[in-house]
């Protein structure tokens, strides 16, 4: 559907803001380099204040970078105003024009492009069908539910066939159930339209579900660019490991290639480039281990709680407190607080930082 899929490239982008309290300048985004492939779905993920929205708004043109250059489809766009950029944004608050009906909202961008009224009519009808709002042209925006409003916002952005579609936390005003179904919907529409998309969210599960690649940001710096799979299993650092999913960090020493030692016990673990003899933290996902009466590492249960889908344990191993989630607990032995247990690790689950 898009005329041309465009890639986005950020070269050494920095944005400096003034802290309103102390009056000091600080980097909201610092020396960021990104390459977003044409047609891909990329998520900027991070806690609030990490610079993800600022980055998105710089791509849209609402903010100007203090250093570096942004390229859209190979062209530098730093000096272009938002209305001259081939981008379209879906806003967190939907930002529908409240004095227009659905048709006029969706047709707004097309009318600015001075298209033939008949063409506009059919394009609007097509795009409303794509987002599942056929025949709603004459409704006013306040007659729609939140989910429907967000669909209109999406339709309005899609219909002008932008080179890149930008999403600024589009689902955070919706309730939890709707959020899950809408994200699948957004992904489907993006693939059908074959459009490049940059998506900002602080919700890691949303990012995992929707993206080809996630860009994890923290304090203005890009921590890792990876597929959801890589980011989960091979986090680059503690921040990423902790932010994506839950993680235990267990202190260990590398004793050989792919072998670490914890409390005198040798464990198989991906060590990557870490040299033998160095100290490291091994990352253990809560579902990556199970408890048994015998096994690899001994520990003491300090907390045990039934959560439905899984049994939640905190196990003291040396001076580490390890969180374990055992799924489908109905058919498994349940340990209680004070029980002595052994941790057993699933194949290929340990990863050293």
């Amino acid at each position: 559907m898009a005329k041309e899929k465009k890639g986005v490239r950020l070269e050494h982008i920095s944005k400096i803001y003034k802290d309103p309290k102390s009056g000091k300048d600080f980097y909201a985004v610092q020396d960021t380099n990104l390459e977003i492939e044409p047609g891909s779905f990329v998520t900027l993920l991070g806690p609030s204040g990490c610079g993800k929205t600022t980055t998105l708004r710089m791509i849209a043109g609402f903010e100007s970078p203090d250093e570096g250059e942004i390229y859209l489809g190979g062209e530098p766009i730093n000096a272009l105003t938002p209305n001259k950029r081939d981008t379209a944004m879906v806003f967190q608050s939907y930002a529908l024009l409240p004095h227009y009906n659905i048709f006029d909202n969706v047709a707004y961008g097309l009318k600015l492009r001075k298209m033939d009224p008949e063409v506009i009519k059919s394009k609007v009808a097509d795009i409303l069908a794509l987002v599942g709002l056929e025949g709603m042209e004459n409704r006013m925006t306040n007659q729609l539910s939140g989910g429907q409003q967000q669909r209109v916002a999406l339709a309005r952005a899609l219909v002008i066939e932008p080179g890149v579609l930008l999403f600024d936390e589009p689902l955070s005003n919706l309730d939890a159930k709707l959020r899950v179904s809408m994200r699948t919907e957004i992904r489907r529409i993006q693939q059908e339209a074959g459009i490049t998309a940059v998506y900002v969210t602080h919700d890691q599960s949303e990012a995992m579900a929707i993206s080809d690649k996630v860009i994890i940001m923290n304090k203005g710096i890009v921590e890792q660019v990876a597929t959801p799979h890589e980011a989960y299993y091979y986090p680059k650092n503690e921040f990423v490991a902790d932010f994506i999913g839950e993680a235990n960090f267990i202190e260990a020493t590398v004793v050989a290639q792919d072998m670490v030692q914890v409390d005198g016990v040798n464990l198989k673990c991906t060590t990557g480039t870490l040299s033998t003899g160095s100290c490291c933290d091994i990352v253990l996902r809560p579902e990556g281990a199970f408890l048994a009466d015998e096994g690899d590492l001994s520990g003491l249960v300090e907390y045990s709680c039934f959560m439905g889908a899984y049994q939640d344990y905190h196990v003291r191993v040396g001076h580490n407190l390890v969180k374990i989630q055992e799924y489908n607990p109905k058919n498994k032995k349940i340990y209680n607080v004070g029980d002595k247990v052994f941790l057993n690790f699933e194949e290929n689950t340990l990863y050293a930082l």
């Binding site: 970078p65 203090d66 730093n78 000096a79 105003t81 209305n83 379209a88 944004m89 806003f91 529908l96």
Partner: protein
């Protein structure tokens, strides 16, 4: 860390938008020439004489005993009026927000009181004060049989100004009280505090900055007021009237300029305190929205006295207003109460009434749309755009609020009579209707801008950004998104500016030439002469025009206002 790149990029983006750029440049020029320059010229006038920079002029002016007296007079009136207006305003606001008003009648009274200062010319109360309590006053002469009561002077001004300005305090404080979360007071009640204790320990401290704010606003209004002291002041001169007399009576333009600088200094100082200290503070303590409806006080021992006090005051104010049309219908006020139309006939036959109303009406009608549009543009730029001159535009258009009309008038005389800096540029403007229109615009701009800014702040920034993002330039965004969304504010700006213009006097009286006849100037003239019948006839028609305009505005709002079609999600 250098922010130079973003600054230069923002500049480039701005330059890519020629309509926006031109608008900004024109605005800056307009504000500089018609607000800053006239004030600057007053400074020049009062500090520069033939022998270079000097304070001689100030020394000379301060040496005038009538000027020194005018300063103390003005401050005395200002303080008294400020305090009493705030207290009465608080009483009304408290009763409206906290007390269950039993009847529609009393609700109506409250509404009327809040609307009167908007629709009435500023000096109507002075007229009725004289007619009720003066030498020939109905109450003094006929009810109380006092034949030599003098309403002129300090108490006359103070009473009239208080009655004129307290509704403004009432409206300001009502807004504040409504924002207090009832649960704060309920918590105090729950812990055992009496109603009085709750008011003294919770409500009062919370609105204290707001009270200060109301006081200062009234104080500024009072010391800038020209018309009331002119009509009812008698020999009790205030700064505004002294300055006026200095230029019209003594032809001492430099002296008047120096005096104007003193008056401006006082109002500016008060304005700064109000704007940058109290306003921020009062909103900071009361930023929260009321979570629930307040339980209204129904206790009779509280409601009855408060309601009676407010109603009595409200009825008194309304009677004073009603007095004016009657003044125009009686043969000789205070002596002969036969109904007559002779004053109205005189207005139209002898005193060019038709031309007067036409001139006032047309000039105000020209200035109203200009003001409304200009203030919406300024609010849009200030709230939604980033650019260098933004601070300047906001500051100067707000500054106009602190400039008393008399000061502006003197500034225009000094600034434009000989052209800009005496060069003859724009000299042709002087004495024309155009300069009157400009004065009207400048005088109404701050109120319009204020309402525009608060309306725009309610609108999510991303609504305009989305339009911008889809390819609309600033001009289109403003026309297709901003303006439709603040239609209400635009309409009310239009009418308010019209009403303010048609009732304005202080700046205009110094600038108007015999080729233009204005209602307010006529009223002032006849009231000065003691021809109250004619003054009342003029005033009656003026009130009818303004009241009619407000009614039309309310109708328009009802049928075309945004609030009907669109509900805003915050």
């Amino acid at each position: 860390m250098a922010k130079s790149q973003s600054a230069s990029l923002e500049r480039k983006k701005l330059l890519a938008d020629p309509i926006l750029c031109t608008t900004i440049v024109l605005l800056v020029v307009f504000l500089t020439v018609f607000i800053l320059y006239p004030l600057a010229i007053l400074l020049v006038d009062s500090f520069v004489s033939d022998n270079g920079i000097t304070t001689d002029i100030f020394k000379r002016v301060m040496g005038l005993s009538n000027f020194r007296r005018a300063i103390t007079n003005t401050l005395k009136v200002g303080f008294l009026v400020g305090i009493i207006s705030t207290l009465i305003g608080l009483l009304f606001a408290y009763v409206e927000v906290y007390v269950k008003l039993r009847t529609r009648f009393i609700e109506g009274l409250f509404k009327l009181v809040s609307m009167l200062p908007v629709v009435s010319p500023p000096f109507v109360l002075s007229l009725s004060m004289i007619m009720l309590f003066g030498k020939a006053g109905i109450i003094t002469r006929f009810l109380l049989k006092i034949y030599d009561n003098s309403v002129y002077g300090f108490w006359g001004i103070a009473i009239v100004q208080t009655l004129t300005f307290f509704p403004v305090c009432y409206m300001m404080l009502k807004g504040l009280l409504k924002n207090i979360d009832p649960s704060l007071e309920e918590a105090a009640r729950d812990m055992g505090a009496s109603r009085l204790k709750v008011f003294m320990t919770v409500t009062f401290p919370l609105i204290l900055p707001g009270l200060g704010n109301a006081f200062l606003v009234t104080f500024i209004e009072s010391i800038a007021d020209f018309a009331n002291p002119m009509i009812i002041g008698g020999s009790y001169d205030t700064l505004a009237t002294t300055i006026y007399l200095q230029i019209t009576g003594a032809y001492d333009k430099q002296g008047a300029a120096a005096m104007a600088v003193v008056l401006l200094g006082i109002t500016l100082l008060m304005f700064m305190v109000q704007k940058y200290y109290l306003e921020a503070k009062s909103t900071a303590t009361l930023s929260g929205k009321a979570s629930r409806e307040r339980m209204l006080i129904t206790d009779k021992s509280v409601t009855v006295p408060l309601t009676i006090a407010c109603s009595a005051l409200a009825i008194f104010v309304i009677v004073m207003y009603i007095c004016v049309p009657f003044g125009a219908l009686f043969k000789t006020w205070g002596y002969d109460f036969h109904l007559t139309t002779k004053w109205f006939e005189q207005v139209f036959v002898r005193y060019k009434g038709l031309k007067t109303f036409k001139d006032s009406f047309v000039l105000s009608l020209i200035s109203a749309p200009i003001t409304a549009l200009l203030s919406m543009i300024i609010s849009y730029l200030v709230v939604k755009r980033k650019f260098k001159a933004k601070g300047f535009i906001e500051a100067v258009s707000m500054l106009a609020m602190a400039v008393p009309g008399t000061v502006l008038g003197i500034g225009y005389i000094r600034g434009f009579a000989g052209g800009i800096f005496g060069t003859g540029i724009l000299q042709s403007l002087y004495g024309t209707g155009a300069i009157l229109v400009i004065v009207f615009v400048v005088r109404s701009l701050p109120t319009g801008t204020r309402s525009g800014i608060s309306a725009l702040r309610q609108i999510d920034k991303s609504i305009e950004e989305s339009a911008y993002d889809m390819g609309a330039d600033s001009f289109r965004v403003f026309m297709t998104v901003t303006l439709p969304l603040i239609k209400d504010s635009f309409l009310s700006g239009f009418i308010t500016s019209f009403v303010r213009s048609i009732t304005a006097i202080s700046a205009i009286i110094l600038l108007v030439t015999p080729s233009y006849l204005l209602i307010t100037v006529q009223i002032n003239e006849f009231a000065e002469k003691g021809s109250y019948g004619i003054a009342c006839a003029f005033a009656t028609i003026l009130i009818m025009i303004t009241y009619g305009s407000v009614l039309i505005m309310n109708l328009l709002m009802k049928y075309f206002g945004t609030s009907k079609k669109v509900k805003f999600d915050e």
